[in-house]
Amino acid sequence: MSAVALRALTRRYGERTALAELTLSLETGQTLAVLGPNGAGKTTLLRLLATLLRPHDGELEVLGHRLPADGWLVRGRLGLLAHEPMLYRELTVRENLRLQAKLHGVAPARIEELLAAVALDRRGNEPLRTLSRGLVQRAAICRTLLHEPELLLLDEPYANLDPAARQIVEPLIGRSSGRTRVIVSHDPQAAVNEADLVLGLSRGRSVFIAAPAELDDGALARLYE
């Protein structure tokens, strides 16, 4: 079953086309790596999948529901880890997660479970603004996973994380999590290594959609030229 299906998906910002006629399909449990230079449309694609943007043309289906019409049926089943942590700086990590738990109807026990999993339980009562970027990223990962989403939309998920922290969060958001994932990354080789499908974008257009084994040696280099 397709977790994500796009047909000629197009999104514009005013006169500028951010994403043009993109067509692809991602099966449940698979990982899609989205690569491309700055301004290629990667974040736009994630925000369209997350229901935060509406497509201007084409069809978009996420977890079996047409968007934007059935958006509310999808929200709560997906988790978006974006550039911004989507957490309030003046609230503590626990206060932020408690608020998110209420919004998603999640039991408070899940908060402690996740804080322990990302080794943030001892710092959970500190305001977000006092934490380092790496710790904020861990808190954002907790927010993303709080409601056990089926589809993970990850924009630079390992940003600001040191190697030890990457190992800590890997079981939660990495391939071993078993979830369907769409990963945007500026580290092409690392993204390709954990992907089932690789999408190369340039100026909003698809340059290639292929399995990692099908990518020729120069494909990634040419994408960033």
Binding site: A50, T51, L52, L53, R54, W72, L73, V74, R75, G76, R77, L78, L80, A82, E84, P85, M86, L87, Y88, R89, E90, L91, E95, R98, L99, Q100, K102, L103, H104, G105, P127, R143
Partner: protein
């Protein structure tokens, strides 16, 4: 997909917003200070220490309304700047719960400001005794605050998603708040007459209640679209 209970979501959003205010003090002190300063300016600018009737009522409500604009402009700022909007939209919660929570926040802010501003007004400017007017004034405060909160929660959401939010908030709010101002000012004017002019006409409380109800319905109907892309 089941949605969390709306009452739980509203309370959680309200609690978070009040915590943010208690930690940053971005709105309430400014609102209180503005109100008291405005009364001082009227006191010295008009060179009077006793106002009554229409003038007293107008001075009180225009000041409270302008103080409310400070909060209307700020009430969604943390959500817009720190991703709270997106996090909320990504949840399965009813979108109108955010409107309701922000209305309650504005109501609480206004009530706190009035605890400071109304006594300051009575000391600096009001000729008749506040104690005589207060019981009848409470109804005007409740319905007036409700009108400001409904309009403020709606317009604040509209303005905060634009680049010119500091300008757009007051520009859109003020015309919409004119009927509220008219209702409360006319309602309380007889209460501030010296000597007291007698009973308050029922017309203004009814006008105010009707406007609050109509605008409340409009706000709930429009709010979902304001959160859309």
């Amino acid at each position: 997909m089941t949605r969390p209970a709306s009452s739980t979501v509203v309370l959680a959003l309200l609690r978070a917003q009040l915590r943010l205010e208690l930690r940053t003090f971005e709105s309430l002190p400014a609102m209180c200070l503005f109100s008291v300063t405005a009364f001082l300016l009227f006191h010295f600018g008009l060179d009077v220490d006793s106002l009554s009737g229409n003038l007293a009522s107008g001075v009180l409500w225009v000041t409270l309304l302008l103080a409310a604009l400070l909060a209307i402009n700020r009430v969604y700022v943390a959500d817009a700047e720190q991703g709270g909007f997106d996090a909320f939209v990504l949840s399965p919660a009813e979108r109108s719960t955010l409107l309701l929570a922000k209305m309650l926040v504005l109501l609480i802010y206004l009530a706190v400001v009035e605890l400071v501003a109304v006594p300051a007004f009575a000391i600096l400017l009001l000729e008749p005794s506040l104690w005589q007017a207060l019981p009848s004034m409470l109804g005007a405060l409740v319905l007036g605050n409700l009108g400001i909160a409904v309009i403020g929660a709606l317009v604040g959401a509209l303005a905060v998603r634009t680049q010119a939010r500091d300008l757009l908030g007051p520009l859109v709010s003020l015309p919409l708040l004119v009927p509220v101002l008219l209702g409360v000012a006319r309602w309380t004017a007889p209460l501030f007459d010296a000597p007291r002019a007698g009973a308050v006409a029922l017309r203004w409380p009814l006008v105010l209640a009707l406007y609050d109800a109509i605008f409340g319905l409009i706000a709930f109907a429009l709010f979902d679209f304001l959160l859309e892309d």
